[in-house]
Amino acid sequence: MFRSIINNRIKFVFLVVITIFLIVIIRVFYIQVIEYKKLSSLAESLWSRNLPVQADRGRILDRNGLVIAGNVTTSSLVLIPVQIKNKEEVAKNLAEILGVTYEEMYKHVSKKTSIERVHPEGRDLSYEVAEKINDLGYDGVYLLKETKRSYPYEEVLSHVIGYVGIDNQGLSGLELMYDKYLTGSDGSIKYYSDGKGNKLSLPEIYNSPQSGFDINLTIDLNLQLVLENELNKAMKKYEAEGAIGIVMNPKTGEVLAMSSKPSFNPANYQDYSKETINRNLAIWSSYEPGSTFKILTLAAAINEGVVNIFEDHYYDSGKINVSGSTLHCWKPEGHGEETFLQVVENSCNPGFVVLGQRLGKEKLFKYIDLFGFGKKTGIDLNGESKGIIFNLDNVGPLELATTAFGQGVSVTAIGQVNAVSAIVNEGAMYKPFVVKGISESDTGVMIEEYKPTLVSQNLIKKETSDLVKYALESVVANGSGHNAYIEGYRVGGKTGTAQKVGSDGHYMVGNYILSFMGIIPANDPEFVVYIAVDGAHNVTQYGGSVSAPIAKSVMNSIISLYNLPPDPEGMPRSYLWYEQKYITLPNVVGMNKTEARDMLNGLTIEYSGTGEKVASMSPEANTRVKEGSIVKLLLN
């Protein structure tokens, strides 16, 4: 039966054909269903062209949301030459609007490239120009949003903030450290094109750019502005080489202001030397602190019970002999007989040598270590230094003596602020920080919040802390810090005058770092203010004369910015012979002549008019005037 063999073979072939069809169908199913996503996205990128839409970089905000680093938006012209139909007409109109020659513009519109940017005439377009180009409505002519970093306050906080490069990428400071957060994701205008690059009439898809996250600082811009202004003035006035200022809340570690001079404008950082833009002196520079370091020696001595600052006395002859070497007090003739409180007020070096000797090197250096000297504070900024402290094994009597009054050690400004904050904050040390949190830029919702970090506590007894604060207040009221005294407020502080070590390893002549460490309110400090001026000229080389007044201005601003209430409990000011005493004028209007004269004791009175009663007074009541000033009374 050959017929059946043939038919069987036909059936066999038919089955083979059906099988191959099934394979093809399975293959198509695999391509269209299993591989769908992969192939679709590949094909999508083949069909579509993306015009980039730049995302805003996240802003850097102060603690109250004021913008320290923001963005400016501009438009730039982008051409897609294959889509431009009437090249002559487009070139002519664009050339006219942008003020470019027709020939040049024609080159742009007919260039053989997928996307052509008109540089530089087509960038940074003003709103009006952009509007005109938009109104032309040509195919293939696009305006793209571009965004650029802007620093509205120019040099303010420059070392902390850092700067960005040409592509808005963070290159230093917070801009670099938080670049990941600050950088947004660019969006795009996506349009479909055919294989030859012509635009298809499918709708464009706009992917909106995602702005970067905002960085919220602990910095108070208003206070920062005051600090910068004061330091700038000092730099100019004293022709100084540099200056540092830090304001910190000792109870949290929040840095409220931080400035290093010379500073730079991040918008054109290229114009400054590498040293200027890269060194945040407040955390980088380490130097001999001088007398501000005595706060630590004092705290250690009180805490260890080796001194009673009120009862114990010391006779300062102007020098002290330590294992064969003679150490001098800054006052050549010496301070004479004094209590240890007065030793602090006078910043008497031999007195502190004695405190150091009473402590012994183990105890003093234990406190140096406890309060973080010789280590980084861990502030959330790049470029912090450790400072240099003697190795305990190498400390002899002389090293112990100099360390006690702040010589022979090297510390950073932030390290000192950190230590003093812990001392006045009852021995609780918080890590200094400048970034409070990271938030979404459009909603302000915090995505990350950084809380104060308690590093250690009970470093000293509360009583010790109280006594040190009292001593510091006394320094300002009665001693070397009097230039920082603010009438009606409680200010504490300590001056510092440190000789600088030159490149040859020896102390430089006549070149000092003049500093002041202040606290306010002195009984319960909420602000630690540190000011240091490096290499000041034309001035008496004492911290009390240069840095204390700067600190005072800053603290005055703190009083008004934070509405600190006056505190009548403060120590009254004692006056030096060359200083004027101020009197608040009482109201004498309506009194008779003799009553008024008694009230205005210490002032020179000039009468005008005749009669017994005071009709008016000049200056008016409640004005503060110098002792002995003239007060005019009109009688009737």
Binding site: I10, V28, I31, V33, K38, S40
Partner: protein, 358 residues
């Protein structure tokens, strides 16, 4: 008994093909000829002629072809030789396989398909008694087939050549002749391929590039990648009629070899299922006719013609979906091409006549 289902299926499939030619070609047609309807009008004319021809041929007694088989083959061979002569034959896409008549073209290799199937069917019927003596039975007809293949390869048109040779081998296979000869032929073919690869190793790379077209995306992998970019995004239901993206100058000449990619893109997996179903229906109806046919010549002729169509279909689908390397064959009834459509319609006409005779 006329096979209405076969006839209607063929007409539905070719009408659908006409729509797809419009959809896939209007971009290119507008670009090249400034007339988006250029291809669809041409093909429309051929379709009308084709349907008429199918009808006419279905009335012609197929036994007539048996009588004139030798003359028909001779004519076919003469045409295949003539087309190789420069001046007579026109080169298109690198092959001298066209006679030009105005903007229309005629492909003699398409015409020779019918001639060869007729001749081979007649030979197989005539020598039916000898089919046990495999070599004697096969050798003479193999020589005829290989000679035609040789002529077609001179154009060169590898795709059509392969369709003809393999279809005729399958036709010989169904006569019931010794199975082992085909295994031997297959081994011989494999040895030939291995030899070709050893002589020129780059061929292996070309053969394997279809496995991973992305290894050479701008060269040998280009067409298949573009095809996958059409098929893949089509998904289950496709972008819809005329909404293909790949026809916008991405897939080259989408109205010919790769029209199935555009179908997949516009109608998705569902469209693919429907088109496959229509092709299977056609083949199934013809296979039924062949099996029912008592007359050996009619049996062979109907099966041979339909297998040639379905084999070309599978070859095209396998290429388009990246299952085998690009061979350059069109999709019967659907791809743009006048001669191909007319020949297909004539073949169906012949089959219809075979089916209509008891």
């Amino acid at each position: 008994m006329k096979d209405k289902i076969l006839k209607i299926t063929v007409i539905i499939l070719s009408l659908f093909g006409l729509l797809m030619i419009y959809s896939s070609s209007y971009i290119w047609a507008d670009f090249k000829y400034n007339n988006p309807y250029k291809f669809v009008i041409n093909q429309g004319i051929f379709l009308v002629i084709g349907i008429i021809l199918m009808h006419v041929v279905s009335k012609i007694d197929y036994k007539l072809y048996k009588k004139h088989a030798s003359i028909i083959l001779l004519l076919g061979v003469i045409l295949l030789i003539l087309v190789l002569i420069p001046g007579l034959g026109i080169v298109r896409n690198g092959s001298r396989s066209w006679f030009g008549i105005g903007s229309l073209g005629v492909q003699p290799s398409e015409l020779s398909k019918i001639a060869l199937v007729i001749f081979v069917s007649k030979y197989l019927e005539k020598n039916d008694k000898d089919k046990k003596m495999t070599l004697n039975f096969i050798l003479p007809i193999l020589l005829v087939i290989m000679f035609s293949f040789f002529l077609i390869m001179l154009e060169p048109d590898f795709g059509t050549g392969m369709v003809i040779v393999l279809s005729l081998l399958v036709l010989i296979f169904i006569t019931g002749t010794n199975f082992t000869i085909f295994i031997k032929l297959g081994i011989l073919g494999l040895i030939g391929i291995v030899l070709l690869v050893i002589i020129a190793p780059y061929r292996l790379k070309r053969i394997t590039s279809f496995l991973n077209p992305w290894s050479d995306p701008l060269g040998s992998g280009f067409q298949i990648i573009q095809s996958l970019y059409a098929i893949g995004p089509g998904g289950l239901l496709g972008f819809g009629f005329t909404s293909s993206r790949q026809k916008h100058f991405y897939l080259p000449e989408p109205q010919t070899d790769f029209i199935f990619s555009i179908i997949s893109e516009e109608f998705g997996f569902l469209g693919v299922l429907i088109v496959s179903f229509l092709f299977i229906t056609i083949f199934y109806r013809v296979v039924k006719i062949s099996i029912d046919k008592e007359d050996l010549f009619g049996k062979y002729l109907s099966f041979g013609l339909s297998f040639m169509l379905i084999f070309q279909t599978l070859l095209n689908l396998a290429v388009v979906t990246g299952l085998i390397p690009v061979t350059g064959v069109t999709l019967p009834f659907i791809s743009y091409g006048g001669t191909s459509l007319l020949v297909s319609m004539i073949e169906i006409g012949i089959i219809l006549n075979i089916g209509s005779q008891k």
